[in-house]
């Protein structure tokens, strides 16, 4: 055994010199009393699913907020470019609304 080992042994003995353990009967007796009480097992069963539920809800909420944010950004971008195009009207052709809509016919067979 080296000097350092002896010294560390002394240190540990000194650290434990005032341990004063409680009487065994007290610790054991208290444990016996606790063992006869009904256990609070239900609490453990409640915590695990509750924690899981919170985790799932927070992940779902996060994803939903993220997708809503993405849609808002996209809409903003589109409206931005639509607003910033001053010569956009030059690309419009006469009767372009006819090309973009589906014609319907009334009961007499006339085109509306």
């Amino acid at each position: 055994m080296s000097h350092a080992d002896r010294k560390l042994g002394d240190l540990h003995r000194e650290a434990h010199s005032a341990d004063q353990p409680p009487p065994f009967a007290r610790s054991w007796g208290a444990a016996v009393a606790r063992s006869s009480r009904p256990r609070r097992g239900i609490r453990q069963w409640v915590w695990a699913p509750a924690a899981l539920l919170v985790a799932v809800l927070s992940i779902a909420g996060g994803l939903r907020i993220r997708s809503a944010q993405r849609q808002r950004d996209l809409a903003q971008e589109i409206s931005f470019w639509a607003a910033r195009d001053p010569l956009g009207f030059l690309l419009e052709m006469p009767g372009s609304e006819l090309l973009q809509t589906v014609p319907t016919f009334d009961s007499k067979g006339e085109w509306q």
Binding site: L8, L11, E14, S17, D19, P21, P22, F24, S27, W28
Partner: protein, 180 residues
């Protein structure tokens, strides 16, 4: 079936009780080391460990010595207690415990010894948990590093690393001071 199991556990406990009583002072010392030398915490942990033995949550299967097994139960109970306290968000209470435990009331002629002991306790408390545990098991409880590894539930190699690091760290503060 449950009744048979309960009777079996009760028989086991009856045979173990005497041995556990014999180990009680050492068990308390180990509980203190696991709880950074906080007395109240150590007492609670020891009581909870005994409760585990009594209700069969911890059963001795004879694969190791009774002391190694019991120390393992105490260590696990201390870890559970710490985790539970953390979950309950009792940071303030923990702080109070720490202050109350490291400065016990002493008589005036013990002040010199007390100061030195406080310094040792502080140095031990500041060690990382596994280093503190392995050093306590080896230097105070006289276990081999292999036995300490079994109590701590780590491999022998890991226990050796913690032992070396802890020894070096503690040695820097106390052994070097002696030589200087």
């Amino acid at each position: 079936m449950k009744r048979v199991l309960a009777r079996q556990i009760s028989q086991e406990v009856t045979t173990l009780e005497g041995e556990i009583e014999r180990l009680h002072p050492a068990s308390y010392g180990w509980a203190l080391a696991c709880c950074r030398f906080r007395r109240q915490e150590a007492e609670d942990v020891l009581q909870s460990a005994y409760l585990k033995v009594l209700d069969g949550r911890a059963r001795y299967d004879g694969r190791s010595s009774l002391r190694t097994w019991l120390f393992g139960v105490i260590r696990k109970t201390a870890l559970d207690a710490r985790r539970r306290r953390w979950l309950e968000g009792m940071g303030l209470l923990r702080w109070n415990h720490a202050n109350g435990a490291v400065t016990p009331v002493v008589s005036l002629d013990e002040v010199g010894n007390h100061q030195r002991r406080s310094r040792i306790l502080r140095a031990l408390s500041e060690l990382p948990r596994r280093q503190r545990e392995v050093l306590d098991l080896v230097f105070y409880h006289g276990m081999t590093i292999a036995e300490a590894a079994e109590v701590m539930g780590v491999s022998l190699g890991a226990a050796r690393v913690h032992y070396d690091r802890g020894k070096r760290r503690l040695g820097r503060e106390f052994v070097a001071e002696d030589r200087g």
